[in-house]
């Protein structure tokens, strides 16, 4: 079987506590050895001198748009964008057409991923049928078909009783409930964060309270049901504080933050540029600061992109008509290095945790580690080479990003899935 020997990199493996120069040998798709001076006859050699060698990155929040919206993204194109972002595993949110609310759709996604994806794809099932928020989806059979969590991402379950039942059912399977926290009545009609900027621009606001009240509701429901509850893309200072509170109470509550929510505020938005329009919206400075503090303190478990492709025609409209969401797979590591590591807020070890052990622990994936016998998924990245993001070179089928032309110091260099290099930076 093919073997890959990654030599002389700085191996950072938070699961084992290793941080130092070593070689990593992958054989038969798994980690065969990690140590100094490894050699293996006939192995392909990757010289990782001066680079970081980490367990393969996991993005627990991605919209792949297949089935049904393939003009925006496919499992293949999304997986290629993921590989170019250093990701070896991605989780596909269920808001496809049809919604992934049954084993049939889950099976389809698993099969399409097996045929076309260059990284591992883990489906997330819907909480309710058609994500309509009313009747529970076929959660048990979706688990059997391979979903790793349930979520009605983008379509909050407004009925607290339905949410309670979903949490109770998920608890029976020890399945995390990932939740897009938004009170739709409070956010109705909003296009951006409610604050001075929305007032200035005359755009309707999405108040921070629309997120806060749902985080509060669901933490209380998690407490009542004992379910594992995960807050998707949290963006407000109150949400961070409430998750911290839940942790102190010993509740099984976790959360993720997106790169755009720690890198940008509503003031960074180019006027009426829909590449800055997403949910939750870019919040104000105090919220961004709280998200970064949450990452530093450990309240925030994972960085997830909420990669949300939309074709150009949909983003070329009046701001209020444009759909929510931006792509993010290819810029996540660059932004995390820039805003968290180079700024001195966290070290590389913590950065790697946020991309690996953090999401792996929440989703109970046997990944995110370079322990011997683990899947041979490796992310190799640099921390100081300069590069500029050109969205026109993106592997995604969509171009909706506020980071076109952004300059980064450090980013992915090569992505290894199951022992094989699936992407390598050119030049």
């Amino acid at each position: 079987m093919a073997a890959l020997l990654i030599q002389n990199g700085r191996v950072i493996d938070p699961a084992s506590g290793r941080d130092g120069v070593a070689d990593v040998l992958l054989e038969d798709g798994r980690v065969a050895a990690v140590g100094a001076g490894l050699s293996r006859l006939g192995a392909e050699v990757f010289d990782a001198s001066g680079l970081v060698v980490a367990p393969g990155f996991i993005d627990m929040h991605v919209h792949l748009r297949e089935p049904g919206i393939e003009h925006a993204e496919t499992i293949e194109s999304g997986s290629r964008a993921a590989a170019a972002g250093g990701y070896t595993s991605i989780c596909a949110m269920p808001n496809t057409i049809p919604v992934n609310d049954s084993a049939t759709v889950t099976n389809y996604i698993v099969e399409r991923a097996r045929r076309s994806a260059v990284v591992n794809v883990f489906p997330i099932g819907a909480i309710t049928k058609n994500s309509a928020g009313e009747e529970l989806a076929a959660i048990g059979s979706m688990i059997a078909a391979g979903v790793v969590a349930i979520s009605d991402d983008g379509k909050p379950v407004m009925n607290a009783r339905v949410m309670r039942r979903a949490m109770e059912f998920a608890r029976s399977f020890d399945l995390p409930v990932i939740y897009h926290c938004e009170d739709l009545h409070l956010s109705a009609g909003g296009d951006m964060h409610e604050g001075l900027e929305s007032t200035r621009l005359g755009l309707r606001g999405i108040p921070a309270s629309s997120e806060d009240v749902m985080v509060a509701r669901d933490i209380l429901l998690a407490q009542a049901t004992g379910a594992r509850f995960h807050v998707a893309h949290l963006s407000t200072r109150n949400a961070v504080a409430m998750v911290a509170y839940a942790r102190r109470q010993g509740l099984p509550v976790s959360c993720e933050a997106t790169p755009h929510h720690f890198a940008l505020t509503d003031r960074d938005m180019a006027p009426y540029d829909s590449n800055y329009k997403m949910k939750p919206p870019l919040r104000e400075g105090a919220d961004t600061t709280a998200v970064i503090e949450g990452i530093v303190s450990g309240v925030i478990d994972a960085i997830a992109t909420d990669h949300a492709p939309h074709p150009g025609s949909e983003k070329m409209q009046e701001f209020e008509r444009c759909p929510f969401g931006i792509i993010g797979l290819e810029t996540a590591l660059g932004l995390a290095l820039e805003r968290l590591v180079h700024s001195g807020r966290i070290g590389l070890g913590r950065l790697v945790e946020l991309f690996t052990t953090g999401p792996a622990r929440i989703l109970r994936l046997e990944r995110g580690t370079l322990g011997v016998g683990a899947p041979g998924d490796v992310t190799i990245f640099g921390t100081d080479f300069e590069w500029t993001y050109d969205v026109n070179q993106s592997f995604s089928k969509s171009r909706n990003t506020p980071f076109h032309g952004a300059k980064f110091r450090g980013g992915p260099v090569a992505t290894v899935v199951g022992g094989a290099v699936v992407w390598r930076r050119e030049g």
Binding site: A188, G189, T199, L201, G202, L203, R204, Y272, E318, F319
Partner: protein
Amino acid sequence: MPAGLLGIEELERQEIEAILARAKDFQPIQTQAQKKLDTLRGKMLVNLFFEASTRTRTSFEIAAKRLGADTVSITAAGSSVSKGESLVDTLNTLAAMRPDCIVMRHAASGAPHFLARHLAIPIINAGDGTHEHPTQALLDARTILDHRPGLEGLRVAIIGDIAHSRVARSNVHLLSKFGAQIVLCGPASLLPAELGCLAPGVHLTFDIREAIADADVIMMLRVQLERQHEAAFPAGEYFQFYGLRLEHLALAKPDAIVMHPGPINRGRELSSDVADFQRSVILNQVENGIAVRMAVLERVIG
């Protein structure tokens, strides 16, 4: 001035002064027998109104004609927009016909800014959603200056549905650049606290009597029922607490003027006797609208 006129916020004070001074030059023309100039002869202006408007559209059209330009007015109803064409495609089509300027009104905030990024043609914002209505603020300033020597230090009360008012936003930016004291007044649901940080010199109050006290200018706003997505105050209580009545005027300066961007709803935001009050300058505003828009058109395409 950049290629068009999108808002007051980004204008320099000197640019505003130049427009207001030029508008003064155009004021006498409005009443003389021969009203037509040939400054813009051979120029073509498209009035593109995606939202109903009588006075603004007519005002732009008359202003353009008095400068000798040709005009075409399009309203969204009956145009390709109602057939599902996107805004960008509509504007691209119109731009291909090579007009010299597009005057547009749109219900979406930022629609003209979005188009200005994608089209080479100058765009004049005739009101975008709840964002700005720059020519209204300019004509309001012109009207105030017809009654006062300057804007600096004036106390201007703007009363009503501030949250949904593009007129209020443009006026706040303009008046603030000239050092006026601005008091914004309305019920809390129509007066978000952030408005106090919109520009220097802005003060908020929920009490109409406090707003009017010692005012030089009282600017009433229309209640924008079409922009409110649910009742922001109990039905029938608006006039009781925020309608302007004759007795309020005693609180203001003795020579205070009353303004309204129109169309007025008698008995909703102001009583009928206030609308007909001798120091109400509502019709002067309309008249100045033409002079100010002539000045703007001359700057943009002259």
